[in-house]
């Protein structure tokens, strides 16, 4: 049972434009959300996170938006750069349970076209 879903396997964006990656979750116990970027032959790299008490968190070119009522979050990358081309994973955890193990989506492959 996939509790975190990324329904778009791939996304292509022109350099300089905005990339929007989407993620949905089903478990209302999730209260902390993270985005990771993964290059081939490397482990996932932490990008940005957001607590369920917020609806937006920004770090440089990366902004994560959380819509709790819709159980949906998105990652915006502006402007997109060719070096952003990678697989992006959405992850969630249940902080209130005292554990921080992560539940991952299946990933979205972003290609930024120069």
């Amino acid at each position: 049972d996939q509790q975190v879903k990324q329904n778009s396997p791939s996304l292509s964006v022109q350099e300089g434009r905005i990339s929007i990656l989407n993620c949905d979750y089903t478990n209302s116990m999730f209260d902390y959300f993270l985005w990771y970027k993964k290059y081939p032959a490397e482990g996932p790299t932490f990008l940005i996170s957001i607590s369920s008490i917020k609806d937006k968190n920004e770090d440089g070119r990366f902004t994560v938006f959380l819509n709790k009522s819709a159980k949906h979050l998105s990652l915006h990358i502006v402007p997109s750069q060719p070096g952003d081309s990678a697989v992006y994973f959405c992850a969630a955890s249940k902080r209130q349970t005292g554990a921080n193990n992560l539940f991952f989506g299946t990933g979205t492959r972003l290609t930024v076209i120069p």
């Binding site: 975190v4 902390y32 993270l34 990771y36 032959a41 490397e42 482990g43 996932p44 790299t45 932490f46 996170s49 994973f89 992850a91 955890s93 902080r95 005292g98 554990a99 921080n100 193990n101 992560l102 539940f103 991952f104 989506g105 299946t106 990933g107």
Partner: protein, 116 residues
């Protein structure tokens, strides 16, 4: 500062054999988690250890076991290997399991296990 390190990088084993994977966390991190990533999927949680104690276990058979040492490094053991165990095994470390700064996990490069 060194990140999470894992060894070996690649491993080829035969069905029925046993394998041990190793992980060293970021300095100062006391929690280590293990994940399995099969092709086309996101990482799946296997185990979490904190201060040498198991703090969580995912939906994996008893053939999978792990431990954490006093220096916070960890080993993942898989017995009686099956073809389906072929995957990238990722280790992640965090400061702890709860509290400020504990919710971000930092991953190593992984060990690619191939079972033939």
């Amino acid at each position: 500062d060194a990140g999470v390190t894992q060894s070996p990088t690649h491993l080829i084993k035969t069905r029925g054999q046993q394998v041990t994977l190793r992980c060293s966390p970021i300095s100062g991190h006391k929690s280590v988690s293990w994940y399995q990533q099969v092709l086309g999927q996101g990482p799946q949680f296997i185990f979490q250890y904190y201060e040498k104690e198991e703090r969580g276990r995912g939906n994996f058979p008893d053939r999978f076991s792990a431990r954490q040492f006093p220096n916070y490094s960890s080993e993942l053991n898989v017995n009686a290997l099956l073809l389906g165990d072929s995957a990238l095994y990722l280790c992640a470390s965090s400061l702890g399991t709860s509290g400020q700064g504990s919710y971000e996990q930092y991953f190593g490069p992984g060990t690619r296990l191939t079972v033939t």
